[in-house]
Symmetry: C2
């Protein structure tokens, strides 16, 4: 097999860990490292940690590096390489992360919002390789999104487009941290979902979930629900189907608005797998306008555990 000759460094800047890796232009992760973010210590410390991590990854480097891609939570200016704001990173306001990293390593640096980076990762390496237009949905702590139209990210006026987590599906629905109500994130976001399960599990005394959490509600997690669903637990299946339905309502509205009908579902909670995707599919198809109905396509993301690093590194190949 011919060895691919182009590589990129991907930096996945998370609230807890910074994951850094070298990825080939075919999407193979050849080396990786994880360092603590230490977000509470502020931008300077975090940037020092990024630099430390990149230095480690570049030790004895034998790969032809084309550039560094950084996926970062919050609103970024991709042109200037500036993190304008990042709610989960205390003190980050207009931080010139891109230029700082560029000066340090003399590689071209590509900065992008992490949800958009995940979308570009699927576009370049994953399930979106042969698809011109799709919406990437990332189900994790929050519900993130990236809109790909004609192979390009749709950024909106100031680069903040793609917040599908804050499409409201019920004006009378649960309160969302953003200040609105009924946002899809207020149902499907990790903490909201766990809270909901904790509050209603007592109504399902026969659920296998009880045994799996050893009757300790603090142990409720999406992973437990997934495991219970795999054991055909009715309550777990109900939770997953309901979440698919909620997500489907939001995505049907999105589809009507944008005339985009392909959805790639990723992130940890996407581990719910086929039952989730089936429920999303069914709901979108039942609700979207007639001309779009036959085109609805809901598929799982291809980049799984390494989606963060690979998405970040894909920025280098996307921009080239």
């Amino acid at each position: 097999m011919a060895k691919p000759d182009k590589f990129a460094i991907g930096v996945d800047l998370g609230g807890t860990n910074i994951k850094i890796g070298i990825v080939s232009e075919k999407g193979k992760l050849v080396k990786s490292v994880s360092v603590k973010t230490e977000a509470d210590s502020g931008p300077k410390k975090v940037i020092a940690n990024i630099i430390k991590g990149v230095e480690v990854i570049l030790e004895k480097n034998k790969f032809k590096i084309q550039g560094i891609g950084i996926g970062c939570p919050g609103v970024v200016s991709t042109k200037k390489g500036i993190v304008e704001s990042a709610p989960n990173l205390p003190g980050w306001k207009n931080v010139k992360l891109g230029p700082i990293i560029k000066n340090k390593f003399a590689y071209k640096v590509h900065l992008e919002n992490d949800a958009n980076a995940a979308a570009i990762g699927e576009l370049i390496f994953g399930a979106g390789k042969k698809i011109d237009s799709f919406v990437m949905v990332t189900l994790g702590t929050g519900v993130g999104g990236g809109i790909v139209f004609n192979k390009k990210i749709f950024r909106g006026e100031f680069g903040a487009a793609g917040e599908i987590g804050h499409i409201s599906i019920d004006v009378n629905g649960p309160k969302c941290n953003c200040g609105s109500t009924g946002c899809i994130e207020a149902y499907a976001g990790n903490s909201y979902l766990k809270e909901k399960i904790r509050s209603e599990l007592k109504d399902y005394p026969d659920s296998k979930v009880w045994k799996m959490i050893e009757n300790d509600l603090t142990k409720v997690s999406p992973r437990i629900i997934q495991a219970a669903s795999e054991k055909k637990d009715n309550y777990a299946n109900f939770v997953i189907e309901r979440m698919g339905n909620q997500l489907g309502v939001a995505l049907a509205s999105l589809s009507n608005l944008l005339d985009i009908s392909t959805f790639i579902i990723g992130g940890g909670v996407a581990g719910f797998g086929k039952p989730l995707l089936d429920s999303v599919r069914l709901t979108i198809s039942a609700r979207v306008l007639l001309p779009l109905r036959s085109r609805v396509l809901v598929i799982p993301a291809k980049l799984k555990n390494e989606a963060g690093i690979k998405g970040a590194s894909s920025l280098v190949f996307y921009n080239n």
Copy 2:
């Protein structure tokens, strides 16, 4: 005053009437005519009526015509000039309206969905002249929309984008003709709104609306509500405020998704005026994500009664 030397013919193809006019490149309507659509007689008859109308408007013509713009309900292929489907025009399936009109008159023909034509009308002649990105909302029989991003219509994959009337704001909301529930059109669309008012007006025996409709519920109309609101009728004000709130919920979701925060509100029901716009503004600002909040701009359309003809004619100047 220098006479503008470029003109376009605008054809506003409606379900009941076809309105045709000559419009200057500055947006002045200099001549117009209206003919019956006779939609029930099928595409051939309708096209014959369009041709008849254009012939009338071209009699003794002394204006330098640059082309013909046609605004048409339904899904159109702007590139091919084909009406793919038009729910309110019986028998219209893949009708080559553009080429037919072009062959007849030897002018360049620009075909566009009517909601997009309204958006382009505001972009070229109206409230959007100095705005790069906005969403046009047309409140009438239905709730239509057109997304303008960087001075261009966002069409989506197959040209059907912009259906803001079918953003759902309440999964448990009223049934919409499209098959979904809680669509904004199922609240703000003319027939739904009238139906709602008819069903609840009895709970407001003191409303001035009763006198204005002469106690005859079949006389309920948006125009009556507008007139009652102008007389400070509490119920009429409540109806308008509620509608602004419902619309605002949908537009906040849209704003979060697209990072577009300017909305131009037009169509007959936009006659509700300031009370409606204030309510829309208030709701969007309360619900949209924080970084977008200060940028929210909700303004009335500039093209009023002649929006259809002007929007259609603007297509000629937009494409040039």
